[in-house]
Amino acid sequence: MLAHALNVLLSGVFHAAILFLVAAGLQLVFGVQRIFNLACGSFYALGAYFGVSTVTVLTGAGLPRPLFIVALVAGGIAVAAVGPVVERLLRFVYDRDETFQLLLTFAVVLMMEDILRIVWGTAPTSTGGLYLIYGQVRALGVTVPVYNLIVIAAGIAIALLMGYMLARTRFGRIIRAAAENREMSEALGVNMRVVYVKVFTLGTMLGTLGGALVIPSTAAMSEMGIDLIVEAFAVVVIGGLGSMRGALAGALVVGVLRAVAISTWPELEMLLIYLIVIAVLVFRPRGLFGAAAA
């Protein structure tokens, strides 16, 4: 019984780690730029596909297979270079109505789907058996792939890093100031344009890194980005829009609840998540950690 509960918990936390990375990117961008970037799912997919290519190329060129994770992370970070490009595109709608922002980011989602298809084709793309290369851990009756533990650890590490950055570094202070009061920050001399590019790129990088980290355990498939946007939306509503802690809490809730639902009442998997979303919207509309409406 304990073994099963542990199994469910671990699978839920693994899924939550990936959700957190994508949602954190979403929250960062929303908090500062007030844009709900639907394309976060596309960055996730891009990181996945690019990660596979990076690993394939580098291991083909002689990188020892156990070091594939280095290639993966490098690929995930490098492809965040599309961030500034998309940000430039979004500059047109910064001060416009939210509907324009949603439309434009949705357009980016559709364009990315086709770009991914043109570059990588339609067949599922994966890193083959590299997922199993670090072996498994057996404890308390549960078998866990070491790779899953690495991803969970990476998620925790990044969460701590983000927390540290936001609380202790100058850049973090600027981000928080810009999120709280943009005009005042600009009046105090902050170059908002540069901050926007940096924040958007950081948000993109969290998404692409999430995609790259998850890909060895699965395969890059069409529409994986679109499926993730739906889950990320639930995470952000539950956690509270614009809050990093909200991203973490929301991701854990969605990830673990999904795992529990699949084990107890599989038919209800997605329904359960959305029941929670509705409950949150009814009883605490700002989410668990969201700022109270002004």
Binding site: S11, P124, Y131, Q136, T218, A219, S222, M224, D227
Partner: protein, 427 residues
């Protein structure tokens, strides 16, 4: 000596006749047979291009293109060149519009294609209304077909999708002894639901006290099965059954290997052969039942045609062909054979009704072997399923033994209902 005028005229005349004789065959080769129009035969092709089933659509399209190249090199159908008009199969509504455009605007002679069930159900009535021959690659399942296309005149359907589940159950009973409990993980749509129900109904005929202990229904496109695997581990079944046919097969195989799932239970992947060359030996164990639908690329009894196709496909696309190639190839090869058969009777390019008559009961040499259409417009062919092995020269698994299951054994006969037929078996 001086040439006389008579001599000169004779020489010129001979030269003229000679060049005429030499030149004539070239002219004759370009001409079609008597009663056959000289313009090309237009074949409309509907193939999925985006989404989870895109590789299946691509495989089918490649099968048709390979066929068209071959046929045109050999002179075409009765001398008429073949021209493919490619359109995308997407949502039922959009695909119906493209179907109409192909028939009414492009005026194609026949349409080959259609993979998804929803599209198949939508196209059936349209085919009958427009009176065009439609040869479907896949796209059928139990429910809904009987209501929308009860006695098709123009539509020719593929094998019933549940055939694979029936085959899987037969082989489970044959190769795995002592299966008392079964868990199922299938995609949450008609194909998945029907396969699970059919598999259990068929297996019950062999092992009447077999019990389903868990059924999971992830939708198409799920990429993380770790929670599902945790649930399966808890249920401790003797056998896991899955009708996954796309990338999710590879994913679940990988994630199952990471926790050693198949060390504690057997598995039957009825349709996993659709992504066979992604099932690497690294994470796909031996001893699982794996189904390749109607074409197995490595069959020991493979015809020279199949061997050539596999060779050229691998050289061009760097992949090994999956079964959709043969579904597609068969439809157009059957069309050609039907036209030739009807021409022999009619003495001129046959009308659509005559081609339909010729298609009923036809048999041709397709990539996977002999295939044909029954009188009720449903495909007849062999299904290939077997037990996975690592003993091959590839980095992915193959099957050994290869069980050849003809549709006469795993598909319900014309006019019967599936569960009545299963319950009538003598076991």
């Amino acid at each position: 000596m001086k040439t006389s005028r008579r001599q000169f005229l004779k020489t010129v005349g001979a030269a003229a006749v000679g060049s005429g004789v030499l030149g004539a065959p070239a002219v004759l080769r370009a001409q079609t047979k008597r009663g056959v129009p000289s313009d090309p035969v237009k074949i409309g092709v509907l193939a999925i291009r985006a989404g989870v089933a895109a590789p299946v659509g691509a495989a089918g399209q490649r099968g048709v293109e390979w066929w068209a190249d071959r046929v045109n090199k050999a002179g075409g159908i009765l001398g008429r060149k073949v021209e493919l008009v490619l359109e995308e199969e997407s949502s039922p509504k959009d695909t119906v519009e493209r179907f109409r455009k192909l028939v009414l605007q492009t005026k194609v002679d026949v349409i080959s294609g259609g993979i998804s069930t929803a599209v198949g159900l939508a196209l059936g009535p349209v085919t009958e209304e427009l009176g065009t021959i439609w040869l479907s690659w896949d796209a059928t399942t139990q429910n809904g077909v009987e209501e929308t296309i009860p006695k098709p005149k123009w539509a020719f359907r593929s094998v019933d999708n549940e055939a694979e589940a029936v085959g899987g159950a037969i082989l489970t009973a044959k190769h795995f002894k002592g299966i008392k409990t079964v868990a199922g993980i299938n995609n949450d749509y008609s194909y998945g639901r029907d396969c699970w129900a059919t598999f259990m109904a068929a297996l019950k005929r062999y092992t009447p006290d077999v019990k389903p202990v868990l059924d999971l229904w992830p939708k198409l496109g799920v990429t993380d099965f770790s929670s599902h695997i945790a649930a399966i581990q808890q249920a401790k079944p003797d056998l896991l059954m899955s009708s996954f046919w796309s990338g999710d097969t590879t994913i679940i195989m990988k994630q199952a290997a990471a926790v050693g799932l198949f060390k504690t239970m057997k598995a039957c992947f009825t349709t996993g052969g659709g992504v066979h060359d992604s099932l690497k030996k690294d994470f796909t164990p031996e001893g699982l039942i794996l189904g390749y639908n109607s074409m197995y690329f490595n069959h020991v009894g493979a015809s020279p045609l199949l061997k050539q196709f596999v060779r050229e496909y691998k050289a061009k696309y760097n992949e090994y062909p999956p079964y959709e190639c043969d579904h597609a190839y068969f439809t157009v090869e059957a069309y050609k054979a039907a036209v030739e058969k009807a021409y022999a009777a009619a003495g001129q390019w046959p009308a659509k009704e005559q081609i339909v008559k010729a298609l009923e009961g036809i048999e041709v040499e397709s990539l996977s072997g002999r295939r044909g259409y029954r009188e009720d417009h449903i495909m007849m062919c062999n299904f290939y399923q077997g037990v996975t092995t690592h003993k091959n020269e590839f980095d992915f698994v193959t099957i050994d033994p290869v069980e050849v299951l003809p549709t006469s054994r795993i598909q319900k006969p014309a006019g019967s209902k599936l569960y009545d037929w299963i319950n009538s078996w003598r076991v």
